[in-house]
């Protein structure tokens, strides 16, 4: 597989949505231990808006699919919702030009950058950025080595999981967990975990085991 089709993009989002639907209670539980306990519910309602947008179409290109998802998130309040909205939006922008592994890498890099800029978070602050940045770096490294799209996405998923796990022992510097101090130590950041699951969904769609 050299590039992402509209069907691939749709399957990727559908798989991600189904995974979150199955596991949103786990995310909410993490947020209850290190935040205010509404993360999973908010994420699921953002994805429901995204699904409604996808049903209303058009979804004839990866750009259109990711735009529908971004708009669903930007129509959600709170802080993680709009940040994910801007993250998905950069993928949509990159896919407007191409849908190759390079385009995925470009999208991921720009997406991580916009979330860092708006959320003022760095790697190590115990936020979604801790998975977004390593995933973007892994994608661009894989593309640099000439890895194909499924392989590049696999590297991104691995890096995102490592990034998410690294948040477990961190003290939060940004986001809701920063208000609860030491209470959040030992809890994986649910935003970072969401990013890892997003790349897992990509792997399961582009390179089924």
């Amino acid at each position: 597989m050299q590039s992402l089709t509209a069907e691939d993009a749709r399957s990727w989002i559908d798989r991600f949505t189904a995974d979150i639907d199955d596991r949103f209670a786990d995310l909410t539980d993490l947020d209850r231990r290190a935040g205010d306990g509404d993360y999973g519910t908010n994420l699921r309602s953002a994805l429901r808006r995204a699904s409604a947008n996808l049903e209303a179409g058009p979804t004839d290109s990866p750009e259109a699919v990711f735009t529908a998802v971004a708009n669903g998130f930007l129509n959600t309040g709170g802080t993680s919702g709009p940040l994910f909205g801007m993250w998905f939006r950069e993928f949509a922008k990159a896919f407007a030009a191409a849908t190759t592994a390079e385009a995925v890498a470009t999208g991921a890099a720009n997406a991580a950058a916009v979330v860092q800029r708006l959320g003022k978070a760095e790697v190590g602050h115990k936020t979604m950025v801790d998975a977004m940045v390593p995933a973007a770096e892994a994608l661009s490294a894989a593309v640099g080595e000439g890895t194909d799209l499924p392989g590049a996405l696999r590297s991104a998923a691995t890096a995102a999981h490592e990034g998410a796990e690294s948040t477990e022992q961190l003290l939060a510097r940004r986001g809701r967990a920063s208000y609860v101090g030491e209470h959040a130590r030992g809890v994986v950041d649910p935003g970072a975990l969401t990013v890892a699951w997003f790349f897992d969904a990509a792997v399961s769609v582009t390179a089924p085991a």
Partner: protein, 335 residues
Amino acid sequence: MSVRQLINDPDDFVAEALQGLQQAHPDLLRANPDPAYVVRADDDAASPKVALVSGGGSGHEPLHTGFVGRGMLDAAVPGAVFASPTAFQIRAAIGAADRGRGVLLVVKNYTGDVLNFSIAAELAREDGIEVETVLVDDDLATSSADEGGPGRRGTAAVVAVEKICGAAAERGASLSDLALLGKRVVDSARTMALALQACTHPGQSQPSFELPADEVEFGVGIHGEHGVGRRPFGPARDLVAELTRPITAELGLGDGDRVIAIVNGLGSTHALELSVAHRELTAFLGGLGVGVARSLVGPYVTALDMRGFSVTLLRAEDDFVDLWDAPVRTPALTW
């Protein structure tokens, strides 16, 4: 003790209130249902000028929807109760308010508001609308030296920013001048608040916290959260002095200075009590040799039905007073 509220369904609370607001003021504003925002609809609403847009969680009424009209806001964006509006809602309001000379966003310093307004500003800029932001962070109770923290909350000084910048926009000020003016107002204003009784969220049966009869919650914000400490309850003169002392110290106010004073009810404080608070404020300031140039007394930035009040002082620069006196016609503020 259960709490009775004038509500049909908590889920429809904000939307129904917006309909009622429009019905009461059809000459001033129009309420757009989805995405929810309120936009000016008076006779001058199309003439060219920089547009002012503000917003935030609901539950602070009359802020901000009550300040839409001539001489203040061109649009207001209400979120759910105590929750930021979404980036798309704000973007839609910016588009509805824009008259081709740019849009000034007035944003209270809360994480969700700052983020969603920032994103809306980026989206609007991409579409060719010039946007500047004034960040209001006047609440002394949240003053902290903590590097990288969220900083001071935005509370009642937002009324002064909207009034003064609104008047300047009406006189034809440019977007960049308005952004500088707004920053000057914010830098010259500080607020402190206290609660005599917590507020109750729509549909809930219990207040957000319990207060012993002999204490007040000191340094509260406008979201029903706990303040920064408890102080003994006492006569109005003591409570007002305790609330005002840190403000005059922070602003460095002394003999010969003048202020614009806002004595703001937090939702359920009677006008009679607020008048007493204003009397005590004037006396306290008089003791320092500080004069009150202009006053605003009433419920303007509320925390649902919280019993309590805030004191905001703004250094009375000449141009601030001049713009403060300019005509205004909105549901909640008219002169």
